[in-house]
């Protein structure tokens, strides 16, 4: 009932476009001759930067679609030479890679859900000023950003919990990020009006009920940002796997990638007649593998680019 009267937090897409419109101000400085030279410099600088970032990416993409021989002899620059999909066939035919994909998907989904739940569970109470010991708890969270236990002491904890070589080791030890807690806390404090809580309280709503039926529905953009942060972090990480996992059928994609791409462990045999060809295919496959393993991240990138920026900005506001 109080929902209708509530104003939405200033975080949605409508607010963003409105803000963007009002921010469009007329060029405040009249361009003089000096300014024209200066602006030319700005455009040259930015174009250079754009190319520096773009060229390596395009090179990888072009190589991944080229023939094994062209890749191995270094003929590819920005356009595929002798277009073929053989690299992708090799990637999709490799059972280690497919296992890695499956494991990573599991770690991302399970890990993100757990991280999201834990983050809301700590950030929401911390955003409420009635909470006894609030400042001390926030201090405790912040301190973990400045000082950490270190590799071996953390390893000993994971070991004593019996998590070594289980999927839990990938998900639980790093489940909460202090940074994400801060972002969520700042959001709850600044975007959920106190009047809303008072109205809910008059209607007899408990704290949990209020969190579930009012705060969370109003916080969808925030939840999306945090889920993306955790999800991408989980997808990209290999360190936990490196230290906590032994059996290869638990390996996430990134560790499989490291074994193939960095350590150069080819799945190839030793048949001498085919060796050259195998070597060439192995080279090509590396390019295709880079592309394939990045596809999931690039699929969510449009959402990321839209929401992440705001997440970074909220994070930059001191709470």
């Amino acid at each position: 009932m109080f929902l209708e009267t509530a104003t939405r937090p200033d975080f949605g897409a409508e607010a963003e476009t409105k803000r963007r419109k009002t921010r469009q101000r007329p060029t405040p400085i009249h361009d003089t001759g000096v300014d024209r030279v200066f602006m030319a410099g700005v455009y040259i600088l930015l174009t250079t930067f754009l190319l520096l970032v773009l060229v390596p990416l395009i090179n990888i993409l072009a190589s991944s679609f080229s023939s094994p021989a062209a890749v191995s002899s270094g003929q590819v620059f920005l356009w595929p030479v002798d277009f073929t999909l053989r690299g992708y066939e090799a990637v999709l035919g490799n059972s280690d890679i497919l296992t890695g994909f499956r494991n990573s998907f599991f770690y991302v989904v399970a890990g993100t859900l757990i991280s999201l739940a834990l983050t809301v569970m700590i950030a929401y109470p911390l955003s409420r000023s009635e909470l006894v010991g609030r400042r001390a708890l926030i201090g405790g969270v912040l301190f973990t950003m400045l000082f950490s236990g270190g590799l071996i002491p953390t390893y000993l904890v994971v070991q004593s919990l019996g998590m070594l070589n289980t999927p839990w080791a990938m998900i639980i030890p790093a489940a909460i990020g202090a940074w994400q807690v801060l972002i969520a806390m700042t959001f709850f404090r600044s975007s959920i009006p106190a009047e809303l809580y008072e109205a809910a309280q008059l209607d007899g709503s408990s704290d949990l009920r209020f969190l579930w039926s009012v705060v969370l529905p109003l916080s969808k953009p925030l939840l999306a940002v945090i889920a993306l942060m955790y999800g991408i972090g989980q997808w990209n990480q290999y360190f936990s796997a490196l230290i906590y996992l032994r059996s290869e059928d638990l390996y996430p994609l990134q560790l499989v990638l490291r074994n193939i791409l960095v350590l150069n462990n080819n799945a190839g045999g030793t048949d001498l007649a085919n060796q050259l060809e195998r070597q060439q295919l192995a080279d090509l496959m590396k390019f295709s593998l880079i592309v394939v393993s990045t596809v999931p991240v690039m699929l969510v990138y449009p959402f990321v680019a839209r929401h992440f920026t705001k997440g970074v900005m909220i994070g930059s506001v001191k709470g």
Partner: protein, 326 residues
């Protein structure tokens, strides 16, 4: 319903009694506050337990740096040995190489990586072509989301003497082609690939700060006949100075915490003299060599230096600029 209303009425009278509240009364009020919001405390149990188990117990576990840890006796049962492990570490000539490598890598990274996002943000802020601005932002932002494994793999492929296009490019300038096998080049590859990956992302925070600069300042500058460069120097830069300081302190705090992941992946036997840093050495000594106590001592030394640096920079920055993290 009436109960809720009663409590509503009762609540405001609480704080007004505060000055003359005596001990037992205070405790009673505290208990009432706890009971009233018990659900909030219920929510806190799991995440707080997580912080205790995975952040604070590891901090306590650092005591094994001062003990001779053995698995049978456990962390608290193992005998104390004082600073023996620290002495053992510093007696090893490798120690100074590690410290030098770690410091050089992060200082270089800081000096090269810090100004570029600021310049990028200032330049983007001048651009009026929406499409161009968007494109540059979207593209430079993207590499941040590539995993370290992927970035290192790209480096290995692109710099590979046989396959990569950079080999031809460097050869043109008479440079030795195989940078990853050359210890002298390791630092440059490490730092500039980092800049490549993170500059677009780091620029966002400065873009946000620039959007918050008071537009009336620009109008004043216009009346005074300032050109663009003067506008940047006298309005934009002072406007984002607090943000710059905070970001700077944060990166100084990370100076000794230079990432394990990338150095470890970029390492090979040929560049080890420059690429072995404290983090990678700790991993090798501790997890591969199973010398838990020595590895913990090295890690603790690293974390403590890091904390001291962070606190020191914050103090200096507060004195000098008035801005700090806390």
């Amino acid at each position: 319903m009436t109960a809720v209303l009663d409590r509503q009425v009762a609540a405001p009278s609480g704080p007004s009694e505060a000055p003359e509240a005596s001990g037992p009364r205070l405790r009673r009020r505290l208990r009432r506050r706890l009971r009233r919001h018990w659900q909030l405390y219920l929510l806190l149990i799991l995440p707080v337990a997580h912080f205790v188990i995975f952040s604070y117990i590891p901090m306590a576990n650092n005591v094994i740096a001062f003990k001779d840890y053995n698995v049978v006796a456990g962390i608290w049962g193992s005998p104390w040995v004082g600073f023996e492990h620290f002495e053992r570490f510093f007696a090893n000539p490798v120690a100074w190489d590690l410290i030098r490598n770690t410091l050089m890598l992060s200082l270089y990274g800081f000096l090269a990586g810090f100004p570029i996002p600021v310049i990028l943000a200032l330049a983007l802020n001048e651009v009026r072509l929406r499409f161009f601005k968007r494109t540059v932002q979207l593209v430079t932002y993207a590499p941040y989301f590539l995993s370290t494994v992927i970035v290192v793999s790209m480096l290995i492929l692109i710099f590979s003497p046989r396959i990569g296009f950079m080999a031809d490019f460097l050869g043109f300038f008479g440079q030795d082609a195989n940078l990853l096998a050359d210890p002298e080049s390791f630092r440059h590859v490490y730092v500039w690939s980092d800049v490549w990956q993170t500059a677009g992302y780091s620029a966002i925070i400065f873009m946000a700060a620039l959007a918050g600069v008071d537009p009336s300042l620009y109008e004043a500058a216009r009346l005074d006949g300032a050109n663009r460069l003067q506008k940047i120097w006298h309005i934009d830069l002072p406007g984002i100075a607090p943000t710059i300081v905070v970001v700077m302190i944060l990166s100084v705090g990370g100076i000794m915490a230079i990432g394990f992941e990338k150095a470890f992946l970029l390492q090979n036997p040929l560049n080890l003299s420059q690429s072995e840093i404290i983090a990678t050495y700790t991993y090798k000594i501790g997890l591969l060599g199973a010398d838990f106590s020595l590895a913990t001592a090295i890690g603790l030394f690293n974390s403590v230096i890091n904390l001291i640096l962070l606190v020191a920079v914050n103090i200096v920055s507060k004195r000098v600029t008035g801005n700090g993290l806390w």
